[in-house]
Amino acid sequence: MNVLEWSGPAFLMAYVLAMVASVPISAILSRLARPSGRSQPLADPDSLAYLAGKNDRLADGVTTRMLASGAISFDGTAFTRGTGEASAASERAVLALPSPFRWKDIQAALKPEGAAIERRLEAGGLLLDAGERRRVAMISVAPLVLLLIVGGTKLLVGLSRGKPILFLAILLVITLVWALGRWASVDNQTRAGRAALKEARQKHDRLKRAPTTGETGLAVALFGTTVLAGSALSDFHRSRSSDGGGWSDGSSSSSSDSGCGGSSSGCGGCGGGGD
């Protein structure tokens, strides 16, 4: 049974089916290849932020915490020093910036802190080092590489015989883009790291819906700036979504004055309190 001798339609059909099958196969291989690490609970917001989304999420979490505490303020484009004080090393790094400062300045100021957290998490068995991550990524894309080899060979066979190869070429390009995306998207968490993050997210599930002012830093660390949509810090969420830094639930393009929430339509909220 030489697949290279199959007719064009039969090969294309088999190729598409193999592409579909490679989704769960890749996921299973990735899971099996991922080192277990060392199980432990994690409560520090900065470590959780880095574990969840590396430097960008760390900067989101620290900035949100400082906005909530009044240590800094945001006018929609730039940040200025506020009246609050820093309570962590990461916050002191931001407050050392000359005011006013921009988002990229915060990111740059927090990079050394991010590197220190990464080393701690790697040593603690919650993050993979570069070599381990590369090995997991290679195993994850192996089914797609196999598809590319078989499909590419069939393409050469078709070309040598003067057969139409356009549809197969399109599928090969899709497979290549998919493989590159899969390679880039393999995260560097160990199984213990994933479990610690999952446990923290379950424990603080309520924060995903509407965090109180004091909880916003941890909420953003765990779930991203989307949790700020509609809140007093929604300007920061919108700025992060518009520059592509935050993951969005589709709400980012709407202003807090749109719809009915808190607007003059009067249907935003009803408060009750005993008197």
Partner: protein, 184 residues
């Protein structure tokens, strides 16, 4: 003392609105007016009772979800039951309903109070409020208020998501068919 042991909660947990034995009781009317199942309306009523407890015990103004607010609105329409039985006999104090005054500041204030309400719920009842009745702040203040009264005899209600998914699937299949036809 947990909420379960509190005398107010013990009174609220068995509270039923309206006259017993009515052909259309409170929960059935709540379900009918909102297009809910009887089971969902019963769950909303459970959450409304918890909300009433929060208004008295949370220590701050409590803000309900949209579903719970619908139960509150309807209860206010049963004015004798609301003012005489609930406020007079169970709560022991008037509980007024205050809609937002509108504007961005009010929107942010209500978002913060909704967040505080969810936090107080977790603190007093020892569990997270159910997400299908107490949704995210965004859903609460920017999506749910877009509900409108619709006369079903004059309009169809077509959910957007299945239509969008169906249209996307149709376009994908059509494109694949055209590509296959062109290639083969």
């Amino acid at each position: 003392m947990s909420a379960g042991e509190h005398p107010l909660w013990q009174a609220l947990s068995i509270y039923r609105v309206g006259p017993e034995g009515a052909a259309l009781d409170f929960e059935a009317r709540l379900a009918r007016e909102n297009g809910w199942s009887a089971a969902y309306a019963a769950r909303v009523m459970d959450e409304y009772r918890r909300f009433l407890f929060l208004t008295m015990m949370a220590g701050h103004m409590a803000v309900p979800s949209e579903a719970v607010d619908q139960a509150w609105h309807l209860h206010l329409a049963y004015s004798r039951d609301y003012w005489d039985r609930l406020c007079g006999q169970v709560l022991g104090t008037p509980l007024h309903h205050g809609p937002t005054e509108g504007g961005p500041d009010e929107g942010r204030r209500h978002f913060d109070l909704y967040a505080e309400t969810l936090a107080s719920y977790e603190r007093l009842f020892g569990e997270n409020p159910p997400a299908d009745i107490w949704p995210s702040g965004w859903q609460r203040f920017h999506v749910d208020p877009r509900a409108r009264r619709v006369v079903l005899a004059e309009a169809w209600i077509v959910p957007k998501r299945p239509v969008r998914l169906g249209a996307a699937a149709f376009i994908m299949i059509a494109l694949a068919g055209v590509a296959l036809w062109w290639t083969l």
